[in-house]
């Protein structure tokens, strides 16, 4: 008999959002720091 997978997609969506926020947040932070470093003092 086929097994019905558990309904836990909300956890996957939450993890994908959290990962995107951390990586994009760090990327945006680097961009700001790079601009400051290029235009004068950090």
């Amino acid at each position: 008999m086929p097994v019905e997978p558990p309904a836990n997609g909300g956890y996957a969506v939450a993890a994908y959002i959290v990962a995107a926020v951390i990586l994009l947040g760090y990327g945006i932070g680097l961009w700001r720091r790079a601009r400051k470093a290029m235009n004068g003092g950090e």
Binding site: P6, G9, Y11, A15, G27, L30, M38
Partner: protein, 232 residues
Amino acid sequence: MSPDLARANAVVRRGFWISALAFLGIAGVYVLALGFTPVEARQGVAQKIFYLHVPAAWCALLAFSLVGIVSALYLWLHDPRLDLFAASSAEVGVTFSAVMLTTGPIWAKPIWGTWWTWDARLTLTLFLFFLFVGYLALRAAIHDRQERARFSAVVGIMGLLLVPFIHLSVYLFRTLHPQPVVLKPSAPSLPPEMLRTLLISFAMFSLLYLGFVTVRYGIGLALEARELRDAG
């Protein structure tokens, strides 16, 4: 713009292009993992967290291993570029660790029934994260460049010593954490569709590591160039 600052600018730009390409690739991984990779029968959709968690863990351990190796080289060669690379890799490693340490518990809750358990793999990984947060704090606290490089190199090497224990912890200790499915002596134990998504994710996360480290290295070069110019 001085030649040193122009060179730093070129490095930063290169890093941003690599990062942008990697972000596009990771967006593709999201679509591939959520829309075109089969749902695991026992774990359900939550298993798909694996396509982010495992590549993030790989990048974190790669980053910290390189910090240790490059730090040892710094103590030998005293080249400030090695110290700058170590600082860049440590910071990026902490970012990937944050992804690993947040996506792991989100997977664990529906699968294990708990957000966290103090088993060997999880505890050692958390220690490694704190060690490198301490590494960054140490760097921020010391202003003498050579002293900062020397002290932080020692901490970086300590971090490297933890990495093999973390990888082997699932074999050395009784642990809830799943054993490796790809980085192991025998062939990968995954269906081809899942393995394809995981390998693409590994490639895109590694590219993002390269992009972030390149930008961070370029920022360090720019700050050094400004310091030298202001001092002169």
